[in-house]
C-alpha cells in the first residue's frame, strides 16, 4: 500500500517536473536551472557530509575550476565545449587529490576550516590570475552547448538537460551509498575504530569521495559557464561554498535524494525573499541556523521529529 502510494507520488512529481518549464515564466525556469546546477555541486558536498561526516567549505573552488576551464578553453583557445568540461573535471580531480591526500588526515573542525581556507585561497587566485580568468571583468562570449546538433540555448531546453544530469548523478550516488562502498563509508562515519578493524582503508576512501565531490563541483561549474555564457570572480566566493553546503544541511545530509529539496530551497528561497532587498540574506542565514539548531536531520527528518513529539 505504502509502496503503491509512493509510486503514485513519484509519478505525479515527475509529470509536474516535465510540464514545469512549459507553465512557468521564463524567469522562474531560469531559477529552476540554477537549482539544478547548485544541486549537482551540492550533491558532492552531501556525499562528504552525509556519508563521511566531513564539512566542506571549499566547493566553490572546484565549481570555479570547472567554469574557468570551460571559459578559457572555449573562448581563449577556441576548443569544443566537451574539452572544457573534461579538462575541468580532470583538473579538479587532480587538485582535489593533491590537496585532499594531506588534509584528510585532519578531522572535525580542523578539516572544515582547512577546506574553508582552500576555498578562500581559490577565490583569491581567481582574482589575482587575471591573465587566465579575466579577474573582475570575467570572461564573456562562452558558447552555449548543443547536444547532437540540438542547441541548448533557451532556459527551457537547459532545464531538461541540467535536471537530467542532476537526477542521473543522484541515482549513481544512491547506488554508491547503498552498495558496499556506502556501507564502508557509514561504518567509517559512525564507528571509525570498528571500520578500521574491518580493514576499511578510511583515508583512501575519504580521498576518493573528496575527489568525487570536486568532480561534481567542476561539472556544475562548467554547465554554469555554458548556461550563463559569462563568468567572473563573484560567482566563486566563500558565500557560494556556504550555499552549496546549505543544500545537504537543509535537506538532511544522510539522504542523497534530499539534495533535490535542498537545491530547490537554496534557489527558490532567495527568489521569494528578494522583495525584501538585502534583508533576504539575513533570513537565508537564519534559515540555516534554525535548521541546524532545531532539525538535526534536516527537512527530510521533519516528519519523524513531528511523529516523535506528537505521535504515539
Amino acid at each position: 500500500m505504502a509502496f503503491a502510494r509512493n509510486k503514485l507520488l513519484i509519478a505525479a512529481v515527475a509529470v509536474v517536473a516535465l510540464l514545469l518549464p512549459l507553465l512557468l515564466q521564463r524567469h522562474y525556469v531560469d531559477v529552476m536551472v540554477f537549482a539544478g546546477l547548485y544541486g549537482i555541486a551540492g550533491l558532492g558536498v552531501a556525499l562528504l557530509l552525509g556519508q563521511c561526516g566531513i564539512v566542506s567549505l571549499g566547493q566553490a573552488f572546484f565549481y570555479g575550476i570547472g567554469a574557468y576551464s570551460s571559459a578559457y578553453l572555449c573562448v581563449t583557445l577556441g576548443l569544443s565545449p566537451i574539452f572544457g568540461i573534461v579538462v575541468g573535471a580532470a583538473l579538479s580531480a587532480l587538485i582535489a587529490f593533491i590537496i585532499g591526500w594531506p588534509i584528510l588526515r585532519l578531522t572535525g573542525f580542523f578539516l572544515a576550516l582547512a577546506t574553508l581556507a582552500i576555498g578562500m585561497i581559490g577565490g583569491i587566485l581567481f582574482y589575482e590570475w587575471d591573465w587566465l580568468t579575466g579577474g573582475t571583468l570575467g570572461i564573456g562570449g562562452i558558447p552555449t552547448l548543443s547536444l547532437f546538433g540540438f542547441e541548448l540555448n533557451t532556459p527551457q531546453r537547459y532545464y531538461y538537460f541540467v535536471w537530467a544530469i542532476f537526477l542521473v548523478a543522484i541515482w549513481l550516488s544512491h547506488n554508491l551509498v547503498t552498495g558496499r562502498a556506502g556501507l564502508a563509508m557509514r561504518a567509517m562515519r559512525d564507528a571509525p575504530p570498528a571500520a578500521e578493524a574491518l580493514a576499511v582503508d578510511m583515508h583512501a576512501l575519504k580521498t576518493k569521495i573528496f575527489v568525487l565531490c570536486a568532480v561534481l563541483g567542476s561539472l556544475a561549474g562548467s554547465l554554469f559557464a555554458h548556461y550563463a555564457t559569462y563568468v567572473s570572480v563573484q560567482s566563486f566566493t566563500v558565500e557560494r561554498s556556504i550555499i552549496f553546503l546549505l543544500i545537504p544541511v537543509i535537506a538532511g545530509a544522510a539522504s542523497v535524494w534530499g539534495t533535490i529539496i535542498g537545491a530547490l530551497f537554496v534557489a527558490l528561497a532567495p527568489e521569494l525573499l528578494s522583495g525584501l532587498g538585502d534583508a533576504h540574506q539575513v533570513l537565508f542565514g537564519l534559515a540555516l541556523v534554525l535548521v541546524v539548531t532545531l532539525l538535526p536531520e534536516g527537512i527530510v527528518g521533519l516528519p519523524k521529529l513531528v511523529m516523535k513529539r506528537f505521535g504515539a
Binding site: V55, F110, L113, E239, L288, V292
Partner: protein, 295 residues
C-alpha cells in the same frame, strides 16, 4: 626593495599579528570553555568595531566609553548566541560538525545583517594616542600600533591570571574539561558556558576596536579574520593564550614576507597556507604539547 620598505611591511605585519592573536585568544577562550571552535569569532570583531564607530561618530560618545560600548556589544552578542543556539544544541549533545555549521551560519547571518543595517561602507576609527607616527628602522609606525601591542599584551596577562587564580576562571575551564565532574562540584556548567561566550565575544570585539584605526572595518571581513585568528590559535596550540601571540606573529610575518616577496594580493594566501601546513605537520602547535598547558 629598500630597507625602509622592507621594515615598513615587516612592522605592519607584526602589528597585524597582534590583531590575529587577539582573535585567536577569543577563539581559544571559547574553545577552552566549551570545546567549540567558534567560526563567527571574526564577526564579534566586526560588530565591536562598527558599534564603536557609531557610538563615537553618530552619537558623539567620547572615545573610551564608546570602546566600552563596543566591547559590551560583543559580550552581549556572545551571550545571545549561547542562550539561543548553543544551549539547546548542548542539551541535544550535538556533534562537532553541527556546532561548526551553526557558527558558520551565524557568521553568514551577522555579516548579512551588517550589510542590511550599515551598508557596504568601510568604517575607520581614530587611533588611540592620535594619528601621529614614530620612525623606526627607516619606517613609519602609527602611534596606535604601540597601543595595540601594549593592550594585547595586557589582555593576555589578565586572561592568564583570570584562568589561574580566579574561582570563576577555574570553574569555566573545569566545565569543558569534565562537565559532569564540574557539576558534582557545584559548578553551574550552563552558566559557565554562557560566561565563556560573553568573554569570547568581549575579547573579539576588543580586537575589532583595536584594528579599526589601522584597517577599515566592513561587513564582509569577518570570515577572513576568523580564519587568521584560528591560524594563530592553532599555531599556538589552541588552549594557550601566549601561544596565540606566537602564532599571530608567525602569521603576521608570513603575510609580510608574501607582500615583500610577491605582491600584496598574496598576503592571505600565505597566511592560509601556513595554517594548513601547520595543522598537518604540527597538530599540537609550534610550542608542542608542553606549550599547551597553562594559560
Amino acid at each position: 626593495m629598500s630597507w625602509g620598505l622592507f621594515w615598513q611591511a615587516m612592522l605592519s605585519g607584526i602589528t597585524n599579528s597582534f590583531v590575529y592573536a587577539l582573535i585567536g585568544i577569543g577563539l581559544a577562550v571559547i574553545f577552552k570553555g566549551t570545546k567549540v571552535i567558534n567560526a563567527m569569532q571574526g564577526e564579534f570583531a566586526v560588530v565591536g568595531g562598527i558599534v564603536t564607530v557609531f557610538a563615537l561618530q553618530a552619537y558623539g560618545v567620547p572615545y573610551f566609553p564608546a570602546a566600552l560600548i563596543g566591547i559590551a556589544a560583543g559580550a552581549l552578542l556572545g551571550l545571545i548566541v549561547d542562550i539561543l543556539f548553543v544551549r539547546p544544541m548542548m542539551r541535544r549533545k550535538a556533534g562537532e560538525e553541527s556546532f561548526l555549521l551553526l557558527t558558520i551560519g551565524l557568521a553568514f547571518t551577522i555579516s548579512a545583517g551588517l550589510l542590511y543595517f550599515v551598508g557596504r561602507d568601510s568604517y575607520l576609527l581614530p587611533g588611540i594616542g592620535g594619528s601621529g607616527v614614530v620612525e623606526m628602522f627607516d619606517a613609519f609606525i602609527p602611534v596606535h600600533s604601540y597601543w595595540l601591542v601594549g593592550i594585547s599584551v595586557v589582555v593576555v596577562i589578565l586572561l592568564r591570571l583570570f584562568y589561574t587564580y580566579s574561582l570563576t576562571g577555574l570553574a569555566m575551564a573545569a566545565t569543558s574539561i569534565d562537565p559532569i565532574g564540574a557539576a558534582t562540584n557545584g559548578i553551574n556548567v550552563t552558566l559557565m558556558r554562557t560566561y565563556t561566550f560573553a568573554l569570547g565575544g568581549a575579547v573579539g570585539a576588543l580586537a575589532g576596536i583595536l584594528v579599526a584605526p589601522l584597517v577599515s572595518v566592513n561587513y564582509h571581513m569577518g570570515i577572513a579574520l576568523t580564519l587568521k585568528g584560528f591560524a594563530a590559535a592553532i599555531l599556538g596550540g589552541l588552549a594557550n593564550p601566549i601561544g596565540a601571540v606566537v602564532g599571530g606573529l608567525v602569521i603576521g610575518i608570513s603575510e609580510a614576507l608574501a607582500v615583500i616577496g610577491i605582491s600584496s594580493g598574496y598576503k592571505d594566501i600565505a597566511a592560509m597556507t601556513v595554517m594548513i601546513i601547520v595543522m598537518i605537520v604540527m597538530p599540537n602547535g609550534i610550542l608542542g604539547r608542553a606549550g599547551r598547558r597553562g594559560g
